[in-house]
Symmetry: C2
Subunit: 346 residues, 2 copies
């Protein structure tokens, strides 16, 4: 019999609540013969305040012994900005070499969008996850004085760019439209831009069926609101990906339904799946959070582990639920989770 050995990190704020629903739906959808084992980790603000620790080497070892990781949200106003982001979230992405940060955007029927009309939106952003301006390179001199200088170094390697570009081409190849757009700012960031553009063009030669184009990141934000249908798969740098995927989430139904995967396709380390939204401390503990983004992240997790049918069942359940939602009275976090669990168990 098979097993699924899952590390669970509820984290801060609404993380707790949404992860509970994600697990509920996971249990409901998994085939009978798959033994689900979950181990909960207490990372986040509470642990940081209690011990000063965010993510230790021992923690990484413990996490490593799992097939995948499900994360709710990390972050709390009581912790200075950057401490948990750099000390936990980014540390984990870098330690486990999560270089494919996968963020699908699909505007589902019945879902409200801030855009006029009801444009077709169905694209995937492949955001590089381990390089660029996120490396933490840089520093400060003369801190706090009028002569302070602070630098941030974006580091881009052929190795790092090629593997994520290749992954994106493969994903584009597998989709009906087979189109891949590189988003960068190669007219200004010419060093990194040339590296990205050259590698993109090289790898393109191996995927003759994939149509390619290039858009500057500033122009990409325009198209995301005026013509989102032009996008199929997008590959981009870590920081540009951060920015455009929040915008992509906003136009395709909001961060309440935006899922993501921090994927290491090699399998050397477990991949991590999390909603794009944060810990939302203002509504935490009130049963108001929409668990849909977490449930869709569970679908990405299942697909990553080879459970394609189960992933699709979750996505269909979410689609059906959202299509009906307009007509439903407001439901709590767990009511939405229950409804989805019933649907996937179908």
């Amino acid at each position: 019999s098979r097993s699924l050995n899952l590390a669970v990190i509820p984290g801060d704020g609404i993380g707790q609540e949404v992860v509970a629903e994600g697990l509920k739906v996971l249990s409901a959808v998994l085939p009978q013969d798959v033994k689900l084992e979950t181990k909960e980790f207490d990372f986040g603000a509470r642990r940081y305040h209690a011990t000063g620790e965010t993510l230790t080497d021992a923690d990484l070892d413990a996490l490593k012994a799992h097939d995948a990781i499900l994360l709710g949200a990390i972050g709390d106003p009581s912790v200075p900005s950057g401490v948990l982001e750099r000390g936990f979230l980014l540390k984990l992405r870098f330690a486990f070499d999560h270089h494919v940060n996968l963020r699908p955007s699909k505007l589902l029927p019945g879902v409200a969008t801030p855009l006029a009309g009801q444009p077709e939106i169905d694209f995937v952003v492949v955001r590089e996850g381990t390089e660029g301006p996120y490396t933490g390179n840089g520093g400060t001199i003369r801190k706090g004085t009028e002569h302070e200088v602070a630098t941030e170094v974006s580091v881009n390697t052929a190795y790092g760019v090629e593997r994520v570009v290749r992954d994106a081409f493969a994903r584009a190849q597998a989709r009906p439209r087979k189109k891949l757009t590189l988003v960068h700012k190669n007219n200004v960031l010419t060093f990194a831009g040339h590296l990205w553009t050259n590698i993109f063009n090289q790898v393109a030669a191996e995927f003759p069926e994939v149509t390619t184009d290039y858009i500057h990141v500033d122009a990409a934000t325009i198209f995301l609101v005026t013509d989102p249908a032009r996008f199929d798969v997008i590959v981009t740098d870590n920081l540009f990906g951060d920015i455009i995927t929040d915008l992509a989430a906003a136009v395709s139904g909001g961060i309440g339904v935006a899922a993501s995967g921090n994927i290491n396709p090699s399998g050397d380390f477990p991949s991590m799946f999390e909603p794009v939204h944060g810990s939302a401390p203002d509504i935490a503990g009130q049963g108001k959070a929409d668990p849909t983004a977490t449930v869709l992240s569970v679908a990405l997790l299942l697909r990553h582990l080879g459970y394609e049918g189960e992933a699709a069942r979750i996505e269909e359940a979410v689609s059906a639920d959202l299509a009906e939602r307009g007509g439903l009275p407001a439901r709590s976090t767990s009511e939405i989770g229950d409804a989805l669990a019933v649907r996937v168990a179908g």
Copy 2:
């Protein structure tokens, strides 16, 4: 009698056409006693192909001897990406220390927006123009090999950040809502982020009437489409400013109406005013380009030089023209310019 000594750079593509209309409206609005002198410069793709030059020291000297610069657009597909951007546009911004890159966004009555409803949009982005990832610091090793490494260094100084933050506070103070939002990514880019955040908080103490807040750049893109009314004045880094002002233009009527100023408030060098749109080679020479963004850039130019009444007259003319435009047959570039010239002379 007064004089206005203007350097004019039509540039590439539609630049020529839209600048002609900008000058038409400028002539029509200027008081009789102001002697307008214009000198045209041939920068852009043609000059680059003919001479290999983009912007020489002699060019900079010649430009310096003017009260202000009006630019159409620079850029052509025949020139490799980055050559004119770094060699002309950014070189000029840096040489003339254009540290206040001013980009107002106002959704005018009758103007189409991709956003549902007709949200209120009336904010100004103050984008830093001489630092950040735009400095051209960085480099490449092992170029073209599988071991290539390319870096981009974002350079941020207390001097550079303070002056633009102070400018933004003063602009917020002068507006009815008196609200200033810092947009950065201080939870990830912690070195630059702390510099920006600390200086922002310090300068805030000098402007007790200004309400302040902070938003990460990724979240800012969400609010720009879900709640643009929350913004009054935004101050941000060079790259974040590049990205969010294209999005801001898109939601507030498109780049056809987005104006900008590259301002050196010290007056040591002339400031430069230009539409946010590019050279649009696909529609160049057809009289199809909308000159409105250039005309609004002329208004910013006039305001910068102290002609507040004339600037306001242009803005009112544009407003009135746009409000009527839905009911008008499609007009050519020069027909729109003529209509605006008549209105401001009105």
